[in-house]
């Protein structure tokens, strides 16, 4: 199924929930209403003819100007040999979306990483902890306005420029 057909059928099945289809992009993508992400993902995973068995990647993009955080799902179907990219927009001040862990097990870790680095809350997640950073780390590093704390656990995160150090 090509992306155009896929979008047309989704528009029919989930009216008002999908929008902003970009078919000319290198990986065709569409926007999904963040409230119906689980419903749509479950359909795409299980419905014959769609069968997206694989969640290749789940990540986020931070757009401070538009006041949103976008969750990006890269889906691939090995059996049908097609792909689609789903995007869900979340408000930047309180980004919350339902987990898709039930549909693809790998989402557990992907979502933990997005939680850790972007501060997105995945509702219903079985184990939402930081994965890369220590639990007491402050802030979400991959956000565009992230400012590194000056020290962590008594260790300075700053370093004097080498030239200054040598001149001293």
């Amino acid at each position: 199924m090509n992306a155009q057909e896929l979008y047309a059928s989704l528009e029919k099945l989930f009216p008002g929930k999908v929008s902003n289809f970009k078919g000319e992009a290198m990986e065709p993508c569409l926007n999904v209403d963040s409230g119906s992400i689980v419903e749509i993902c479950r359909f795409l995973r299980n419905a014959p003819g769609y069968r997206f068995e694989v969640l290749s990647d789940l990540t986020a993009l931070d757009w401070p100007k538009e006041e949103k955080i976008q969750i990006v799902y890269h889906l691939y179907s090995y059996s049908q040999r097609h792909q689609i990219v789903l995007k869900a927009d979340l408000p930047r001040d309180h980004p919350t979306i339902a987990t898709v862990e039930e549909i693809w097990k790998v989402a557990n870790w992907f979502e933990r990483e997005v939680y850790d680095l972007f501060g997105v809350i995945f509702e219903g997640h079985s184990d939402l902890r930081r994965i890369m950073l220590p639990e007491d780390w402050v802030g979400f590093p991959l956000r565009k306005d992230y400012v590194e704390q000056e020290e962590y656990d008594g260790i300075s995160t700053q370093r004097a420029p080498l030239v200054e150090k040598l001149l001293r």
Partner: protein, 378 residues
């Protein structure tokens, strides 16, 4: 005859052991919190992040050309593939043509790198199980590849060889001859390795039927590369989402065949890797014969500014589907670089598989998944 009464106040409780962060079987710095009842594991929770160097964040602060050396550090055993995936993403964004000779140089460098990486994988796997000698044999061969790599690009591990538009340096005829010499030497070595390790009865008994991953689980946990193919799914990015010059090359995609035990067990994953080395040899011979003349790199502007947009480039790395998701806002710096690696997803399945297996089998499981700590944490 006296009956022994059960001792009062004795009870058994689960033991919690920390395996790692420094442990020979973890192949790098990662840790498992293992709960065991005697020898049987009830839970092994992976704890990662010790090697998090925020390579993705660095990507937002350096130029496209400047980011290539950073990609090397994602997976130090297979740096070439991260180079290639990132360059492919940048080229797709900007619509840059890659010179044809450059493409062949890329495939040659990558396949040599794949053999080197698989040698480490199967070698250390043997070592984990207790077979020391094959590891030394594997490292000896890898040393030759490292020398060849040094000849090709001046570096032995972190290559920075593949650049946007092609490769940094051409592969010279002398080097080509030495690669062929190595391949002639290496092919019989694989058979020797098989006699030494793959066919070894103790080795087989340690792996057959251990930590079986079904095809459904492999897909749901998004295992990629040899781990996925070990479970019987015939999926290889080189064949199924072709890139570079792979469509012109003739090679097989080895899959797990339940060689000695159950489909998807630790041995299948190991055996896929051994056979992939042989396929890489085949690919290398074809590439060296087909390599056209011409420039190794096409003309690419120094100030590289792809138009606003996004793309996701995949390559088949030794640890499977490696994806670079690059978003551009039209400036000199990437807006976002996301690296999706095979080890990260392979790590996430360990928690599930470890329930009810023996402590020794956990080591076999970690080894058979070929996880590489820097690639998990990035």
């Amino acid at each position: 005859m006296t009956e022994t009464a059960p001792a009062q106040g004795f009870f058994t409780e689960d033991m919690t052991i920390s395996v790692g962060p420094q442990h020979p079987s973890t192949h790098g710095v990662l840790r498992f919190v293992v709960k065991t009842d005697g020898e049987v594991i009830s839970e092994a929770i992976p704890d990662v992040g010790y090697l998090h160097r925020s390579i993705e964040k660095i990507g937002e602060k350096v130029t496209y050309h400047g980011y290539v050396p950073y990609t090397d550090r994602a997976d130090y055993l297979a740096a070439m593939f991260a180079n290639q995936a990132f360059c492919m993403a940048a080229e797709k964004l900007a619509g840059t043509e890659v010179s044809r000779r450059g493409e062949f140089c890329r495939v040659i460098a990558c396949e040599l790198n794949r053999i080197a990486s698989h040698l480490i994988s199967v070698g250390t796997f043997g070592q984990d199980i207790g077979a020391m000698t094959p590891f030394v044999h594997a490292l000896r061969e890898r040393e030759t590849i490292n020398n060849l790599m040094e000849e090709i690009c001046g570096a032995r591990l972190t290559y920075n060889y593949i650049r946007i538009g092609g490769v940094g340096y051409d592969i010279l005829p002398d080097t080509c001859a030495r690669i062929i010499e190595f391949l002639d030497h290496f092919e019989p070595i694989v058979d020797e390795f098989n006699r030494l390790l793959s066919g070894n009865k103790i080795f087989i008994q340690r792996l057959a039927g251990v930590a079986v991953i079904s095809k459904e689980d492999a897909l749901s946990y998004n295992l990629v590369g040899p781990n996925l193919r070990g479970s019987g799914a015939k999926w290889d990015i080189r064949r199924d989402i072709p890139y570079s010059v792979y469509p012109e090359l003739d090679f097989e995609v080895p899959v797990g065949t339940a060689q000695v035990g159950v489909l998807g067990d630790s041995y299948d994953r190991f055996w896929v890797r051994v056979r992939e080395m042989q396929e890489s040899v085949k690919i290398l011979r074809q590439c060296l014969a087909m390599m056209p003349k011409g420039p190794a790199i096409s003309k690419v502007p120094k100030k590289f500014r792809p138009p606003a947009g996004e793309c996701y480039a995949r390559v088949e790395a030794p640890r499977g589907d490696m994806g670079f998701y690059v978003v551009s806002d039209g400036s000199e710096y990437p807006y976002r670089v996301r690296i999706r690696t095979g080890s990260f997803t392979a790590m996430s399945i360990i928690d599930k598989l470890s329930k009810g297996i023996m402590v020794a089998d956990l080591i076999a499981l970690i080894g058979s998944l070929d996880v590489d700590a820097p690639e998990i944490d990035r």
